[in-house]
Amino acid sequence: MSMNLMQQVVMICMVILGTMITRFLPFLIFTSDRPTPKYVQFLGKLLPSAALGMLVIYCLKDVSLFTGNHAIPELISIMVVILLHLWKRQMLISIAGGTIFYMILIQLIF
């Protein structure tokens, strides 16, 4: 390993600092004692749905549509999760069912 312990600690602290900046910044800018600007309130109301959508795509960031399995196992398994959830509406059944289905798909078929 090329870095010494002190340098490693500095690098890790940078990662901690970066993570904390992204988490604390909105709370530091829009503190409780001042009223939150209308535009930010608007964002606070609409952003969550968009952020959750972005998170779904974020999970698929290492899957390629154009090479390999063309994301087919992922797309089928997501359909399974959605169908299970619409049918039973039990979070754990949908998640466990979809995951086991995906594992079978990529271990035995693809």
Partner: protein, 238 residues
């Protein structure tokens, strides 16, 4: 005594929500621990890093940073880029984390993808203390991640069970949470904007670089649609 009951009740309400995360984080944590192990780091590294950083994807990247050249500024910039999505979570949680006292500091510290999505969407029963509920969701997630990372770091090379594909548990979790939010809301403009623009950016920019353009496009589109959205009553000014 009453306070103890309140805390107990919040724990009981929070725990079931975190069970999928237990599965996901134990697995991903173990994977991360193994990765550190085979990269030549002692188990102390994944154990301490999972406690102090608590942001899955960036911790995998941190392994590469530690193996590369000593460049703190580079490490900071990469971390800011990967974790920029937390800014969206923060803006969304401004109100929810209000009035949680000292716990607020920890809630923000531990606001990973999973803590955010559960704490934002969970229907917390009326008689359960919201602050403690969100505190336990965050703390349990933190513990699972630490537990997995440490196990992986210590027993790394001994895992024999074919776990290929288990990482899909996180995708499934977010699909379910997205679906729950979808069923709760009356209009789906924002959800479709988030899903569509992120997918577009993923195709255009690739997995490494799509987050920032996605966020900018989502912000821009929502801003442009502020007036028309207000008209259809999606958002009312207080």
């Amino acid at each position: 005594m009453e306070k103890r009951n309140k805390i107990k009740k919040a724990f009981g309400a929070a725990f079931p929500h975190t069970i999928p995360i237990f599965a996901g984080f134990t697995f991903l944590g173990i994977a991360y621990g193994i990765y550190m192990n085979v990269s030549g780091f002692s188990p102390m590294y994944p154990a301490l890093m999972s406690l102090t950083i608590f942001a899955g994807s960036v911790e995998f990247v941190a392994v590469n940073l530690l193996l590369g050249a000593f460049n703190p500024l580079n490490a900071l910039i990469i971390t800011l880029m990967i974790n920029s999505r937390h800014l969206f979570y923060g803006i969304s949680m401004l109100d929810k984390y209000k009035g949680t006292g000292l716990k607020k500091f920890y809630l923000i510290f531990g606001m990973c993808d999973e803590s955010f999505s559960i704490n934002y969407t969970a229907n917390i029963p009326r008689d359960v203390d919201k602050g403690w509920f969100m505190f336990f969701v965050t703390m349990l997630n933190h513990l699972y991640w630490f537990f997995g990372a440490t196990i992986g770091g210590v027993f790394g090379s001994l895992v024999k069970f074919n776990t290929n594909g288990l990482e899909f548990v996180m995708t499934a979790l977010f699909v379910v949470i997205f679906l729950e939010q979808w069923m709760k809301e009356t209009t789906h403009h924002s959800a479709l904007i988030g899903l569509g623009l992120s997918l577009l950016c993923l195709i255009l920019f690739g997995g490494e670089n799509f987050i920032i353009p996605s966020m900018l496009m989502i912000l821009g589109t929502l801003t442009l649609m502020k007036k028309p959205l207000e008209k259809v009553g999606v958002y009312e000014c207080q």
